[in-house]
Subunit: 255 residues, 2 copies
């Protein structure tokens, strides 16, 4: 949803067809095989709408399924890992980059691989923060409890001299204030959602496929769990003015 | 050269073939017709090397010649305007963006067009700063004279409530400190050179064309003016460690 919000902000003319796998999230603790299967199912569903691009707006799914999905569909597929890696390489002055993410993302080593692929001499250190997603999903991201949880998770990183920290999970931007407070003002945080929206723009532009209409597009939202709950979350996260009445269908048949 | 430096930093495996039109720069005060002709000549020269991409690393040339060159060569052509526009749209919170550039760039309206194309409701204000390039070319970018020149040029912009200012000329990053001082800490400066390097990375990656070699590539530098002078500037700007001995050929035949 953090990626959707950024796409709506940076590319307000583009129509979005969104699928939130609310019945099976979070993906972080799941096995690679499961995440790959779920991602293929969702892509099979979305491809029916003949999108000009597919965005895997989840770090865990990107980490394990991006290459497979890229080979599998005939349209560009953008994940959230390379955008974050590129933004970090652009931001770092020391060439030493930190990465935090879910268990699945960190275990995959996908960020280190992306960073090394782009710039072989860069140094990276990563740490899984499995306590962050449950905190955000409970809506506790601005509580004092949040600060305590973030401090406990990130304390081991504070002595390391990286100057750039990739928030390698689309939930983590909600914890930006707490993470910045714990890491101090000299560490630049990279929001992979923001960076992904920008790369979507770059690729659509390169292909001459930016939307032309001046009318506000009608987005479509689908989810696998309770649509009322999803609708509430979507309104709260996207804001009434951006997305007044997100209509949500429950797509239980894909499960 | 600011773009080259960023490409070397963000994509150290990519080989660069550079042409600096030192005999005919700066392009800022020239007519659109002249800039278009010069850009075509240089692209004709560079295309012989069968590059996988062409980068027009000059705002003035991008503003007037990008679309023509894109239609003219069979490889992706990246300019420096859309990357800056996209970075500004990603950075702005108010949706009000400032742009400074050469006479040619500002007169073309290319930044306003790019911003509106991506996000129709964004507001932009622009101002030509014809005194900045001569200052940088004289090497005076850290002098007290520089601060005075920057203050005089930007003073009319200080009362406007934009939160993001695009440095719409590849010379301007040298004046970053003075510009930030004059505009105040609340205005975020967008360095189009940095942003362009990142978009080159995005597009090469999307096309599966990132360089694979782990060896340091051998870059090639060409210029239309005095090669010794150019070599000195290249060493000073790129740094000895990045580019120890840039070999420079004078290509007078293209003039």
């Amino acid at each position: 949803m953090t990626v959707v919000k950024e796409v709506m902000r940076q590319l307000p003319q583009e129509q979005i067809i969104y699928f939130g796998d609310t019945a099976r999230s979070p993906y972080g603790p799941r096995s690679s095989e499961e995440v790959r299967l779920f991602t293929r199912q969702i892509v099979d569903y979305l491809i029916q709408f003949q999108p000009k691009m597919i965005v895997i707006a989840c770090n865990t799914a990107t980490a394990v399924a991006l290459e497979e999905i890229r080979a599998y569909v005939p349209v560009p597929v953008v994940g959230v890992i390379y955008p974050g890696a590129r933004a970090a390489l652009s931001a770092t002055k020391t060439g030493y980059i930190g990465v935090i993410g879910t268990d699945g993302t960190i275990r995959s080593g996908a960020y280190e691989q992306a960073l090394k692929r782009l710039s072989p001499h860069v140094e990276a250190v990563s740490k899984a923060c499995p306590t962050f997603v449950p905190l955000v999903e409970k809506g506790l991201f601005q509580s004092s409890e949040a600060l305590g949880v973030v401090r406990e998770a990130l304390d081991p990183l504070r002595s390391l001299p990286f100057d750039t920290l990739i928030l390698g999970c689309t939930h983590y931007p909600f914890l930006t204030d707490a993470i910045q407070l714990v890491m101090g003002p000299d560490v630049q945080l990279i929001n992979s959602a923001e960076e992904t929206a920008r790369e979507i723009s770059t690729i659509l532009h390169d292909k001459g496929q930016l939307a032309h209409s001046l009318e506000t597009p009608v987005h479509q939202f689908f989810c696998s769990g309770d649509p009322e709950m999803f609708q509430k979350i979507a309104r709260a996260w996207l804001g009434e003015q951006i997305c007044a009445v997100p209509v949500v269908w429950r797509m239980s048949q894909i499960l």
